[in-house]
C-alpha cells in the first residue's frame, strides 16, 4: 500500500484492487447489507450523519452567526418561535436556532474527546490485563472496579466540584470516570483471545508479546470497540450536557446544549421554547448514536447482540 511508484490510471487500479481484495469487498458488502436490513440502524445512521454534517458546516449556514458566542440584541429578546427565529430568541436576544446548531460542534468535540481519551487509556490497560493475566490483571482490574463502584455522574460531579466548573474540567472529569468501561470490555475480550489456538501457535513460534498484541489481540478487539465507542459518543454528550445543566459544565454564553437548558429553565414556564429546542437536539443525537451502535453490533459482532 505504501509504494509510491507511478500510479496506474484510476480505472484499472480500482479494478485490480477489487480483485486483490475481493474478500474484503465481499465482507464490506455483506456488512452494508446486514446493516441496511434494519430500519432502526438506518435511522441511527441518518441521525449521526446529520449531526456530523451540522458539526462540520453549522457555523456557516446559521442565520445569525454573530449570536453563536453571545451577542446582545435586547430589542428582540425572548421572542417566541417565528419564521425569522425558528426556535425563538433568548434573554440576550440571540437566535436560539443559531445557538443550537452551533452547539452541535461543541457537543461533537466533547463526545469525541471523552470517548477518544477514555479508549486511549482503557484499551492498553484492558489488553495488558487480559493478555498477561496474573498480578498485573488483578491490580488493573481492582483499580477499574473502584471507579466503576460509584455512578459516573456522581464521581464526575465530585471531581468538577473540586476543580471548579467549566467545560474543560467537565470533559476531564467525565474522561476520568469513562475509561474503566473500556478496560472491562477489552480485558474480557483479550482474556478469551489469549487461549485461542492461533495465539498459542504464534507464541510457540517465538512471537513476542508485543507482536501478538498488535497482530492478534488488538485487531480482534476492534469490532466491540467500535460498537462501544459509537454508543459512548451519545452517552458522553448526554453526560456533559447533564453537567452543563447542573451548572458545573459549560458556562453561558458558550453554545452548549445542557447549559442552554439550564439558563432556559429560569425562564420557564412563560418562555418554555427556550429549553425545548436544545433538549430535542440532545435527544436526537443520543438516540442516533445508540441506534447506530446497535446496528453496528448486529452487523460486526452478531454473537454478542441479543434479540
Amino acid at each position: 500500500m505504501s509504494t509510491t511508484a507511478a500510479a496506474p490510471p484510476a480505472g484499472p487500479r480500482l479494478a485490480r484492487l477489487r480483485v486483490e481484495h475481493a474478500g474484503l469487498f465481499r465482507q464490506m458488502r455483506f456488512f452494508a447489507w446486514t446493516f441496511a436490513r434494519s430500519p432502526s440502524a438506518l435511522l441511527g445512521l441518518a441521525l449521526v450523519l446529520a449531526f456530523l454534517l451540522l458539526a462540520a458546516i453549522g457555523p456557516w449556514i446559521v442565520p445569525y452567526p454573530e449570536d453563536a458566542q453571545g451577542a446582545v440584541n435586547l430589542a428582540r429578546r425572548l421572542q417566541p418561535p417565528s419564521s425569522a427565529h425558528f426556535f425563538g430568541t433568548d434573554e440576550m436576544g440571540n437566535d436560539i436556532f443559531t445557538r443550537v446548531i452551533v452547539g452541535t460542534r461543541t457537543s461533537f468535540w466533547i463526545g469525541l474527546t471523552i470517548t477518544g481519551l477514555a479508549a486511549l487509556v482503557g484499551v492498553p490497560l484492558g489488553a495488558a490485563a487480559g493478555y498477561f493475566g496474573g498480578r498485573m490483571r488483578s491490580v488493573i482490574m481492582r483499580v477499574t472496579d473502584v471507579f466503576l463502584a460509584v455512578p459516573g455522574l456522581v464521581l464526575a460531579l465530585a471531581i468538577v466540584a473540586s476543580l471548579g466548573p467549566g467545560i474543560l474540567h467537565g470533559v476531564l472529569a467525565l474522561t476520568i470516570v469513562w475509561w474503566p468501561g473500556y478496560v472491562r470490555l477489552i480485558e474480557a475480550k483479550a482474556l478469551t483471545l489469549r487461549s485461542e489456538a492461533y495465539v498459542e501457535a504464534a507464541r510457540t513460534m517465538g512471537a513476542s508479546h508485543g507482536w501478538i498484541l498488535r497482530h492478534h489481540i488488538l485487531p480482534n478487539c476492534i469490532s466491540p470497540l467500535v460498537v462501544k465507542a459509537s454508543m459512548d459518543m451519545g452517552m458522553a454528550i448526554l453526560a456533559a450536557a447533564s453537567l452543563g445543566f447542573i451548572g458545573l459544565g459549560a458556562k453561558p454564553p458558550a453554545p452548549e446544549w445542557g447549559a442552554m437548558i439550564s439558563v432556559g429553565r429560569t425562564f420557564m414556564p412563560d418562555w418554555w421554547w427556550y429549553s425545548a429546542a436544545p433538549g430535542l437536539f440532545i435527544f436526537l443525537t443520543v438516540l442516533g448514536f445508540n441506534l447506530f451502535g446497535d446496528g453496528l453490533r448486529d452487523t460486526l459482532d452478531p454473537r454478542s447482540s441479543k434479540g
Partner: protein, 335 residues
C-alpha cells in the same frame, strides 16, 4: 457458600477503601484552598492559617489521609459550610427522601418493564415489538433533566394535575418520622390525606427517574425471554401440550427473571446517581439536590459525603445481587 460470602464482603471492603482514597485525592487536588473556603470570604490570612492548623491541613498528606479514614470510621464526614450542620446529620435527612424516589421508580420500572419485555418477546418482530423497542431506546436517550422540565411544564404548570415540585405541600403537616420516607411514614401513620399529597408529589420525579431503568429492564427481559423460549426444555414442554400461557408465564419467565433481577439490582445505584438531575428539576429535598447545591457553592464535605454514601449503597446493592445469584445459581460462585 460461607467462603463465597466472606470473599464477596472482603472485596466490597477493598472497593470501599479504594473509593475513600479517591475522594481523599479529589478533595486534595482542588485548586481552591479548603481552609480559605471554610474561613469565609472576608477572613484575614491569620484566620486562614488558624483554620488550616485546626483542620490539620498543614500536616503531611499521609497523616491527613489517616485522619480522614479515622474520621470516616467514626461516622464523621465533616461539616457543611452552607447548612452549618454535620454532613452526617444532613445525609440522614436527605437519604430517605431519595430512597423513596428510587424505590418508587424501581417498582414502576419492574411493573411496566417486565410485562412489556414479555409481550415484546412473545410477539417478536411484530409492530408492537418494534414500538416497544423504540420506547426502550428512547428511554435511554432522553435527557432526564429535559423530559423532567417538559413534564413539569405540561402536567404541572399547564394542566395543573400534579404539583410542580417539593416533597409535600407547604400546608401539609409532615407525618411522624419512622423511615424518613414521607410517603411510607404517612402510610404507616394512616394519614391518608398526607399519603395522597406525598404520592402526587412523587409521581413526576419517580417516573422520570424510572425511564432509563425501565428501558434496560425491558431490553434484558425481552432478550432473556427470547433466548429461554428458544431452548430445548420449552420446546419439549410445548410438544407435551403445556398451554402457551403456562409456558410463557411459569416456565420461561422463571428462567428469564434471574438476569432481569440482576439488572434491577445494578440499576439501583445508578438511579441514586441520577437523582442529581431529577431532584434539581423537581426541587426534591434529597441527596442529589444536596450534592448539586453544595458543589455549586464549592462546599466539598457534603459532595464527598454524598459520593461515599451513594458508592456504599451501590456496592451493597451489587453485593446483594451477587449473593442472590450465587445462591440461586451455584455455578457463578467460583467467579
Amino acid at each position: 457458600m460461607l467462603r463465597y460470602l466472606a470473599r464477596r464482603i472482603a472485596y466490597v471492603a477493598l472497593m470501599l477503601a479504594g473509593l475513600v482514597l479517591i475522594t481523599f485525592v479529589i478533595s486534595n487536588v482542588t485548586p481552591a484552598d479548603p481552609a480559605a473556603l471554610a474561613a469565609g470570604p472576608d477572613a484575614t490570612p491569620e484566620m486562614v492559617a488558624t483554620m488550616r492548623r485546626e483542620y490539620g491541613l498543614d500536616r503531611p498528606l499521609p497523616e491527613q489521609f489517616l485522619r480522614y479514614v479515622g474520621d470516616l470510621l467514626q461516622g464523621r464526614l465533616g461539616r457543611s459550610i452552607q447548612s452549618g450542620n454535620e454532613v452526617m446529620d444532613d445525609l440522614s435527612r436527605y437519604v430517605p427522601a431519595s430512597l423513596q424516589l428510587v424505590l418508587l421508580a424501581m417498582g414502576f420500572a419492574c411493573a411496566v418493564g417486565v410485562p412489556l419485555g414479555i409481550l415484546s418477546a412473545v410477539r417478536r418482530h411484530s409492530l408492537l415489538d418494534h414500538g416497544i423497542r423504540v420506547l426502550a431506546v428512547s428511554g435511554v436517550a432522553l435527557p432526564a433533566f429535559w423530559i423532567a422540565l417538559l413534564l413539569q411544564l405540561v402536567l404541572a404548570v399547564w394542566m395543573g394535575w400534579l404539583p410542580t415540585g417539593g416533597q409535600l405541600s407547604i400546608a401539609a403537616d409532615p407525618p411522624p418520622v419512622i423511615t424518613g420516607m414521607v410517603l411510607f411514614d404517612a402510610l404507616l401513620a394512616g394519614q391518608w390525606a398526607i399519603v395522597g399529597d406525598a404520592a402526587a408529589h412523587s409521581v413526576l420525579p419517580a417516573f422520570v427517574l424510572s425511564l432509563p431503568c425501565l428501558a434496560s429492564v425491558l431490553r434484558v427481559n425481552r432478550a432473556e425471554m427470547i433466548e429461554v423460549l428458544g431452548s430445548d426444555h420449552i420446546t419439549a414442554a410445548r410438544a407435551h401440550g403445556v398451554v402457551p400461557r403456562r409456558v410463557v408465564g411459569r416456565l420461561a419467565l422463571k428462567n428469564a427473571m434471574l438476569p432481569t433481577l440482576a439488572m434491577i439490582g445494578l440499576r439501583f445505584g445508578w438511579m441514586l446517581g441520577s437523582t442529581v438531575l431529577v431532584e434539581t428539576v423537581f426541587d426534591w429535598p434529597g441527596i442529589g439536590l444536596y450534592a448539586v447545591n453544595s458543589a455549586i457553592a464549592s462546599d466539598f464535605k457534603p459532595v464527598m459525603g454524598v459520593t461515599l454514601t451513594i458508592g456504599l449503597i451501590f456496592m451493597l446493592a451489587n453485593l446483594l445481587v451477587d449473593l442472590a445469584y450465587g445462591w440461586l445459581d451455584p455455578r457463578t460462585r467460583s467467579a
